[in-house]
Symmetry: C2
Subunit: 214 residues, 2 copies
């Protein structure tokens, strides 16, 4: 790569913040979560974003670059959501986690169990096929894991959880099981898998509810 090329890349283009580009990313965030990457055509994005034919490749180098911009947008949306819920000082740390799961159930119902989690969907579809998507999606999940660990550590500090709780293992496990539960909600067309996730997480893993299990 020449220096000229590298510095051209380092400077954000005016086009990067154009409203049409933002609209395409917004539409892409909805459509990719429902239909996946392969099934989604460039024409469909242009049409739903009311953008002129041919403008796609003005704003994005490739369909992959578009997909990665959609992942970055989803990451930013979720950063705000996780900050709002998991760092809310008006609730206890475990109440925040409960609320996060409840909002997840609401979201699944709202979109009629079709949408799920964009990160889980694209991870499943492209994780084994495309290195750029794999790395980008894994980085998002690592960020979510760090945030969940901070919240669990706060629960320990506030004595909602015992001092020896392995918050690292549980934070990792949270997102693993979360993605599995969201997938299963699509398959059962119900929130039952997320309810089961919540019951097992609080009742068995964290043992903060009536221990009617063992």
């Amino acid at each position: 790569m020449t220096q000229t090329h590298a510095s051209k890349r380092a400077t954000p283009r005016a086009a990067d913040s154009a409203p049409a580009r933002q609209r395409m990313i917004q539409v892409g965030t909805e459509v990719l979560a429902e239909n996946g990457f392969s099934e989604t055509g460039v024409d469909q994005i242009l049409q739903r974003a009311s953008a002129p034919k041919g403008s796609f490749y003005y704003y994005f180098e490739s369909k992959q670059a578009f997909g990665l911009a959609v992942v970055a947008n989803y990451e930013a949306i979720w950063e705000r959501r996780l900050t709002r819920i998991l760092e809310d000082p008006s609730m206890s740390p475990l109440t925040r986690i409960r609320l996060y799961i409840e909002e997840g159930m609401y979201g699944m119902e709202k979109y009629n169990f079709r949408r799920g989690c964009l990160i889980g969907n694209l991870g499943q579809e492209l994780g084994g096929l495309n290195e750029a998507f794999r790395a980008s999606i894994e980085r998002v999940l690592e960020g979510w894991t760090r945030r969940m660990k901070v919240c669990l550590d706060e629960a320990v500090a506030q004595r909602e959880l015992p001092r020896k709780t392995d918050t690292d293992a549980i934070a990792q496990f949270f997102w693993t099981a979360w993605e599995g539960a969201v997938l299963r909600c699509k398959l059962t067309r119900s929130v039952r898998p997320l309810e089961n996730f919540s019951d097992v997480l609080f009742g068995i893993v964290l043992r903060v509810e009536t221990p009617n299990v063992q």
Copy 2:
């Protein structure tokens, strides 16, 4: 639907057991697990199965019918595997579950973290888009859940687990977290997520190992 048409459907055609059809299903089981349904072309299946061009629609009514035959084949393979492992009387029930997870790790490594679980992959890709796939994949997961519950109940009967263990909730949770862990193995290109799954399952959920967590 006329009666003639219905009875034609009820009679299996000779073509249903043809070696070329079996080869296409076999190839499809491998290719769909790696690349998904949309990305996989009929030509690719024909070529890898060394089947003559044009024979696809002789054996399958549609690409969907082919995909459902692949799901049924995967279900049959897993029925044998689950019977072999989860019903092996030479091991304790919990040892069988450990072995199942270890074989899963081995399988992920063997295919270089590209393949994962066909059921999880197609569930994620098609669960929200296609009712026939959704119902068929959910049925497979329900069957796996029943088998896991039987094994956990045996663990209770053999006093490996306390009498009050909620084997139903844990069996459901097993496959939810399993599918999430297999997805994450593809993203991390490592077996760490399955190791974390195993640690949390045995150490925290079932509490059968050193309770160093709480």
